[in-house]
Symmetry: C2
Subunit: 147 residues, 2 copies
Amino acid sequence: MELERDAIERLLDDWPVARLSTVSPSGAPEAVPVVFARSGGALWSPIDGKPKRGGELARLRNVRAEPRVCLLLDHYEDDWSLLWWLRVDGRASVVGLDAAGAAGAAAALRAKYPRYAEGVTALFSGPPTLLRIEVVRAFGWRARVLG
Amino acid sequence: MELERDAIERLLDDWPVARLSTVSPSGAPEAVPVVFARSGGALWSPIDGKPKRGGELARLRNVRAEPRVCLLLDHYEDDWSLLWWLRVDGRASVVGLDAAGAAGAAAALRAKYPRYAEGVTALFSGPPTLLRIEVVRAFGWRARVLG
C-alpha cells in the first residue's frame, strides 16, 4: 500500500541513509549510498571526508549532465511484513557553501550526524561541495502500517 | 579502499537485499529494493508475491528498453568505520521459467529466502517472471577490513 504522507515527511527528516541513483553520460544507471539532510525545503548531500574511490566523483559528473536523480530510502528485514521503501525523484545541482541555503544545509547535516559536528569525519572533503536535490515527487510503499 | 574480490563473491551469494536502479524511457533514474539470488553465473530477481503498486512494473518496462542496470548492496550504521558498498553494473533481461537457468534460479531463490520455500510469500506473482542480470562488472568500497 501507499506510504502515508506523514511517514514520508518523517523519513525525509530522520532516516540516516539513502541510495542515490544518477545516469551516466552514456545513459547507464549508477548508484551509491549517501547521507543527506533536509533543509530549506530541499535535500542536501555533502561530498564529505569519508574516503572515496578517487577522481572527480561520478555522481558530480553525472548530475552536471543530467540533473534528474532518484533517492531511495528503504528498510529490509527478514520479516517481509515490515518492509517499506520511499522513493524521491528529484533534480540535483552541484553547489558550494555560497549557494542560497547551503549554510543552513551544513548546519542541518552537522545536527543530524554527530560525526560531522564532533569532527570525526570532515563534513567536506576539499572545497565545500554539496548536492542540492529539489524534490519533484516523493512516494513509497509499505507492506503494512509503520509502527 | 577497494572491496576485495572474496568479499564481493561472498556478498553476491549471501546478502539479502539490493537496490536496483534502471533508466526510464525518458532517461531518468528509477530505483527499487529487490531480493535476488545468484545462480548459474548470473543474478536473478523474481517478480514475486509481495504487494506491488500496480500496473506493469516500471522495472520491467525500463529494462526492456534499456538493459543496463545497477545493483547496489550496502551496509549503513552510525559507526562509519563499518560502512561498505558493492556496486554491480549489469545487463538485465526479462525472462520466464522456460529460460535457460531459470529453474535453477527459482531453486536458489527458495533456498536463500525461507519465506518463498515455506509459501508465506509467493515466489511469483502471476506468470513466472524474473529479471536475469548478467554481471558486467562488480566493484566496491569499504571504510576498513570487513569482519
